[in-house]
Every structure is written in structure tokens, then in C-alpha cells.
């Protein structure tokens, strides 16, 4: 869908040479005008975090201004809702030539999570030509500083298109099970993720498996109980310790014949938490 025809005089005054010439021979600070085209304000919060003394973009001469007529750079956020379509065009046409447009955030770059919603035009570049894209939801202040300095040519662009076209051999992906049955590992990982989410669940899984292997004979319920209890006692984080006990009681006992006394008592006083 073609929404906006850029007038010929704006096109003529905004060629790449003219933009590079402006960046090279500016001789003063860059004025940045920020347009919120229906963003959720996450990007705005990060922009204001980026202009605090902690990041201080005035080192490179970036200065936020309150009027597009004073601006060199337009910093556009949001997926461009219908209501913000005309204000965006007015700001674009009011900016003196040559103007540099930066699309900020996932929404500004492609529409982000709203890309197929009925009320948005999904992306600044569907309407006006964009010079630099800064993805992130929202971008970290360091990403914003990086994006603006990349647009100026201070830093080099790091990402390139990556395409793997040759389907080679894959390495063996499934490791041997400690109990001789990979279903044990599967159930253990699922339960660990359920208990502690995926990042910490994987750590919990690794801790539990290493404690189990340390016992010598993984199929001996008595030896593993002693080994897991020891691991729980030396564990600094009580959440990991208790979850290791839960894993042992609920998953291990299904795969190895256990009596009631082989289960670990989860009362903190009994297993001796720090």
C-alpha cells in the first residue's frame, strides 16, 4: 500500500550525498526531535534514560529539541497508528533539509508485535524513508547511543545478513542418559523448568544431574539420597536446594524402585539449610 508520495523538492534535497555532507560539515550540535507515533512509551523511557548524565549523548553533540523546525535528526518510535499518521508527515515536512530519520524500537523498525494489527501502518519506513534502524523492545540506552553514533558514522555497523544454505550433517544431539532411559532426563527437565523457569531450571537440572552422578551408582536409591542431601547442604541458594529435593522425590522415585524412607524430607531444619 502506497500511502504517501514524497514531494519532489524534498526528494531532491535529501540525497545521500547531501546527508553525508551535512554530517561531515555540520559545525554545531545535532538537534534531535523525538516523535511518538503511537508507541507504548517504553522507548521514550529508554530515550530519556539515554540522555541522562549516565550516558550523556551530548558528548557527541546530541541535543533534544522541542520543535521539528530546529531538528536535524528525527527519532521516530511506535508502529504509526492512524491518528499519528498526519502529525508524523507534518513533522517530516517541517524539518529542514537534509533530514535524517531514525526508526527506534521493534515497532518503529517493522511494526513489532503490532505488525498485523488493523489500526497501524507497521513501521516508519512504510511512510517515509528511514536512514538508520535501531531494533530492541525497548532498546537499551547503550543500543540507542550505538545506533545514533552508527548513523553519524562514528562506529561501524556490526550486523550483516546471515544465510545458511547448505544443510550439512548435524552433530549427535541426544546425550546418553544417566539411568539408561532418556525419558528420565526429559521429565526432570520439564519439572525443573516448571519449578524455576527456563533459565534457572536448566541450572537446577545441571546441578541435580551432577549430584546424581557423584553418588557412584545412580540406580541405588540409598546412595543417591545421601549424595543429593549433601549437595543440598552445600548449596548456597535455598531455592535450588529445596527444588533439588522436590525433583528427587517426584521424578527420581518414578524411575527407580524406592521405599518411603528413601525420599528426602524437605523440612528445612532436618536437611540442615544454612
Amino acid at each position: 500500500m502506497k500511502t504517501y508520495e514524497i514531494p519532489q523538492e524534498i526528494q531532491d534535497a535529501n540525497t545521500l550525498e547531501q546527508k553525508l555532507d551535512l554530517l561531515k560539515n555540520i559545525g554545531r550540535s545535532f538537534s534531535v526531535f523525538r516523535i511518538d507515533c503511537g508507541s507504548c512509551n517504553g522507548c521514550e523511557i529508554e530515550i530519556f534514560a539515554a540522555i541522562t548524565p549516565l550516558w550523556d549523548p551530548e558528548r557527541f553533540g546530541f541535543k533534544l529539541v522541542a520543535n521539528p523546525r530546529h531538528a536535524d535528526i528525527l527519532l521516530c518510535t511506535g508502529p504509526v497508528t492512524r491518528q499519528m499518521y498526519y502529525p508524523l508527515l507534518r513533522a517530516y515536512e517541517a524539518t529542514p533539509d537534509p533530514k535524517i530519520v531514525v526508526a527506534l524500537g521493534a515497532c518503529g523498525v517493522t511494526g513489532g508485535i503490532f505488525y498485523d494489527a488493523y489500526s497501524v501502518l507497521s513501521g516508519i519506513d512504510k511512510i517515509i524513508p528511514v536512514d538508520a534502524y535501531i531494533p530492541g523492545c525497548p532498546p537499551h540506552p547503550a543500543s540507542i547511543i550505538y545506533g545514533l553514533t552508527t548513523a553519524l558514522g562514528v562506529m561501524e555497523q556490526k550486523l550483516q545478513k546471515v544465510s545458511f544454505e547448505h544443510d550439512g550433517d548435524m552433530p549427535p544431539l541426544v546425550e546418553d542418559s544417566v539411568l539408561g532411559n532418556t525419558l528420565f532426563e526429559r521429565d526432570l527437565l520439564v519439572h525443573a523448568k516448571r519449578l524455576m523457569s527456563y533459565v534457572f531450571g536448566r541450572k537446577l537440572f545441571d546441578k541435580y544431574i551432577s549430584a546424581l552422578v557423584k553418588s557412584g551408582n545412580t540406580k541405588d536409591a540409598k546412595a543417591t539420597k545421601i549424595s543429593i542431601t549433601e549437595a543440598m547442604q552445600i548449596e548456597d541458594d535455598p531455592r535450588y536446594a529445596e527444588c533439588m529435593g522436590i525433583l528427587h522425590n517426584e521424578i527420581y522415585t518414578h524411575y527407580v524402585m524406592c521405599e518411603e524412607e528413601d525420599k528426602i524430607d524437605l523440612h528445612r531444619v532436618i536437611w540442615g539449610a544454612k
Binding site: 550523556d56 544454505e165 544431539l173
Partner: protein, 179 residues
């Protein structure tokens, strides 16, 4: 005024020297998802989990390749793909320097996987690597040799043919005995 100078002297300079010195992000920072092509099996779990459809898994036009494509511009860095990936082919890295100039296609990562065709109706339905991975999982899951032989046959069939084949074995009296 002098008091202000004293205060600033006491606290020193806090501005990050970022573009001139590397910046260390916080622990568990969710940066750009890093894709390891060698580990990808083309199961499309990430494509289903992705809330903004930044990851798409589709056949190409002549259905000879299964194309996994990730558009970093649309990614919202939620980490769902990392959560569901069974082989760890996609993991959130600490990379935050993602800005690109002029050309948005620099944000794209893609991988092409060979397609598995159904042995009965010759229709493409999955990636070869996924079939191989499923068999590898089964062979280490303590199942009997006979079941494994059956699985080898069924894994290379598309869902429709698998259904008909199962019905055919059941009705012809060749039911499998689960040991």
C-alpha cells in the same frame, strides 16, 4: 556554587565511556537471539512460540527446502524461542549493538534445511533433521528393537499416511504388542 562543585568532586565521573570502551550488560540480559545452524532440527517450536512472528518456518516455493527465518527488527526479546528450543539452537546472547544503516535486510538471519518427503505419498512434510533427531531420541529411550523398527517406518510418513497405515495394521489383525 562551590558546594555543588564539592559534591561533584566527591562522587566523581559516572558517565559510561561506552562507544569508546566496551559496555558490560547486566546478568541475564536478553540480547539478540543467537542462532546455531548446526543444532537446528527445523521443528518449528520457536516459530509457534514467537508472539510477534519474528521467527517464521516455511517451505520455499518448490518445497525442496524448509526455510527458517528470523527478523531481528520484529523481535521483542521475550526469550520464548530459547525456552522452547529442544536442542539449544537458539539462545539469547548478550549482543545489544543491533543498529543498521539504510538496509533493513541486514537484520535477517536464515537457514535452509533439507525437506523430508513422505515415503507413501511423496509429499513434503518435515525436515530431514527432525526425523533423524526423533529416531535418535527413541533409540535412547529404552524401547524394544521391534518397536524401534516400526518407528523407523512411521517417522518417514506424513501425518495423513501415518493415520491410514495405523488403521490398516489394526484392522488387518497385525496389532503391535506393547512390551
Amino acid at each position: 556554587m562551590m558546594k555543588l562543585l564539592d559534591i561533584s568532586k566527591k562522587y566523581g565521573e559516572i558517565t559510561h565511556k561506552y562507544p569508546f570502551e566496551p559496555y558490560k550488560v547486566a546478568d541475564n540480559f536478553r540480547g539478540k537471539p543467537a542462532y546455531i545452524f548446526d543444532l537446528c532440527i527445523g521443528c518449528a517450536a520457536c516459530g509457534i512460540a514467537c508472539p510477534s512472528n519474528a521467527i517464521t518456518v516455511q517451505f520455499n516455493n518448490d518445497q525442496s527446502k524448509l526455510i527458517w527465518e528470523f527478523d531481528c527488527g520484529r523481535c521483542i526479546f521475550c526469550g520464548r524461542c530459547d525456552e522452547v528450543c529442544p536442542t539449544g539452537a537458539i539462545k539469547l546472547s548478550e549482543e545489544f549493538e543491533l543498529a543498521v544503516k539504510f538496509d533493513k535486510s541486514a537484520l535477517i538471519q536464515r537457514g535452509e534445511l533439507d525437506t523430508q518427503y513422505c515415503t507413501t505419498c511423496n509429499k513434503p512434510f518435515s525436515a530431514k533433521r527432525l526425523v533423524k533427531y526423533s529416531f535418535e531420541c527413541l533409540s535412547k529411550a529404552n524401547v524394544s528393537e521391534k518397536r524401534l523398527e516400526e518407528a523407523k517406518e512411521y517417522l518417514c510418513m506424513c501425518p495423513t499416511c501415518k493415520k491410514t497405515a495405523t488403521v490398516a495394521t489394526f484392522t488387518s489383525g497385525k496389532e503391535m504388542v506393547i512390551e
